[in-house]
Amino acid sequence: MNNEANQKVLDLIEKAVPGYNPEQMNQGIEQALRQGIPVQEIKQALFQGLELSRKKLLTRDVPLPKFLLSIDVLDQGFKRLSATEDREKSGAIPLVIGVVEGDPHDLGKNIVSRIYSASGYQVHDLGVGVPAETFISTVKEKQAKVLALSSMISTTMVQMPEIIKRVKAVAPDTVVMVGGAPLDLNLAKSFGADGYAESAVTLLEETEAALERASVKEKW
């Protein structure tokens, strides 16, 4: 197969994500595998599709429900390609994510988790209502470079400073990102977090900035 044919099928896969068209994506992946396109390139096409959708979310050309469907399509694609196994082999950045104890809201966390996953992080999603102890033990076990904490209600958000303090005691180099409706930048800083993302739209840039600050020991 020539490059043009490969590019055509990758384009098909890429467009299937923002078009939330799982059939098109499945056909595209099967075709791509038959043409011998490396799995990494297919994943890249899927991710580019999500990026397109994420950017359209920013410009309001895509509403949240359609973005959620795009993520579902991407998830299906990654499952087909056994993404997790490959990413673990490839040495992606290990990241632990979860909603703090007592909080059942998972919409925001799920979006963030999937964006991280699609962006090449090795995501360990602990779900909702996660006790502090579980965050700490998982960060240690997975040697997480990033811990992402979410809370949608102020009654549960107040656990964040203690979790961050305890994580920093055992894993001082782990970068802690926080997010959720009751938070803002000032609150995130006062909790001792290393980064804050107001929404999924700025998530990757904010995380990269926090990692960059940590690498040069720059104070936030």
Partner: protein, 384 residues
């Protein structure tokens, strides 16, 4: 007929429904009140009358949006506040004295309607009630059509809120306005299915979602009518999904807009003012106004399409009153001085020409001490 109803309310020392009074009379009264407000302190009802008719009162009214945080005044736990209406209203009435404010929240928590439909609900001691998402009432899209209409007599939690409204009106009469928050049809479904799933179902299975949403709307209308029977003068439908945090504008107008219109028509027919609450990102003011004609909108973020507060006031300030938009996180981490300063700025941006009520963008943090709620009320007096 209207005159008799007005007289009857006043005899009971209750605020008469403003919707009963012809617009021209209201405008005349509001102008008179506004003039009087330049020389002396107004009562809550006078202040609100001027505000809702877009005249400047003595100072801007305040809606501190304290809900669950009231329980701190009586020592009730979150669980007790949600399940024991007597304890909840005791705390609210005490809050109206201790903290003050002109427009006060009335209710238990956001799960009231969904739990009456049968959604399993968790009531933690130290946090707000929430659905048990491990047991969603609507497990897949085929369950939407199985949702059955419930009778209000079989809805114990809504009955509790109705009883609270009756008691609040009896005890506070003309001195404060308690306002119940009523979940929108899709918000109720989100409690039974999860918001993300409802959003996706609106695209994939819109007819199924609509069938359930119509069932919910019918029950909400019964609930609203029963609340209006208590003498309610303002209700706050929560229309969060009419924002970028919810559905896209087109989808909201297709799915929930018409149901919002039904709800609004009932409220207006019952002479009840509508103060929509929408704490989402970029709320669709134009759509909400078009479908529901609210007298006020409570918001946390700039309206869709507006780049700053000035533009928002210019575009919508003569169409609806504004309730907002002190940042809720600031109430949590800000010092009283910072909160005062923020209130001053918000008042400066919105209050000119009337039609503005100072409030947080969303419910006052329910576990945080009440000092900054008192600051909000004081800031309205000082800077408003």
């Amino acid at each position: 007929m209207a005159v008799m109803e007005i007289v009857s309310s006043l005899r009971k020392k209750q605020i008469p429904p403003l919707g009963l009074i012809p617009d021209r009379v209201l405008d005349f009264l509001a102008s008179l009140t506004s003039w009087r407000g330049k020389h002396s302190e107004l009562t809550t009802i006078e202040r609100l009358l001027a505000t809702f008719r877009h005249k400047e009162p003595d100072h801007v009214p305040c809606a501190p949006l304290v809900g669950g945080a009231y329980r701190q005044l009586t020592g009730a736990s979150f669980r007790e506040f949600s399940l024991d209406a007597e304890k909840a209203i005791e705390a609210g009435l005490l809050g109206s004295e201790v903290i003050g404010g002109d427009v006060l929240l009335l209710g238990l928590d956001l799960t009231v309607e969904a739990s009456d439909f049968g959604q399993a609900t968790i009531y933690p001691e130290n946090s707000t009630a929430h659905p048990d998402y491990s047991q969603p009432l609507i497990k897949d899209h085929t369950d939407y059509r199985k949702l059955k209409r419930i009778e209000l007599k079989d809805a114990p939690r809504m009955q509790k809120v109705i009883a609270m409204s009756r008691r609040a009106l009896k005890e506070k009469g003309l001195s404060a306005v308690f306002v119940p928050v009523i979940s929108s049809p899709l918000s109720v479904l989100a409690m039974m299915r999860g918001a993300a799933q409802v959003f996706k179902d609106c695209i994939l299975y819109p007819d199924d979602v609509m069938a359930a949403a119509e069932t919910v709307t019918a029950v909400l209308i019964d609930y609203i009518n029963a609340l209006c029977d208590t003498g309610l003068i303002i209700a706050a439908p929560d229309m969060l999904f009419a924002s970028e945090s919810g559905l896209g504008k087109e989808l909201w107008e297709k799915m929930e807009g018409p149901l919002g219109r039904q709800i609004a028509e009932v409220l207006h027919r019952r002479n009840c003012l509508i103060a929509i609450h929408n704490c989402g990102d970029k709320p669709y003011f134009d759509s909400m106004i078009r479908f529901m004609e609210p007298e006020a909108i409570s918001f946390a973020c700039l309206a869709d399409g507006c780049k700053d507060r000035k533009e928002m006031k210019k575009r919508y300030g003569d169409q609806t009153a504004f309730i907002g938009d002190v940042e809720t996180p600031l109430l949590f981490h800000g010092s009283p001085r910072q909160v005062m300063e923020e209130c001053r700025k918000v008042i400066e941006d919105y209050a000119e020409g009337g039609g503005f009520i100072l409030a947080p963008g969303c419910e006052y943090p329910p576990n945080h001490n009440l000092l900054n709620a008192i600051i909000l009320v004081q800031a309205a007096r000082i800077y408003g």
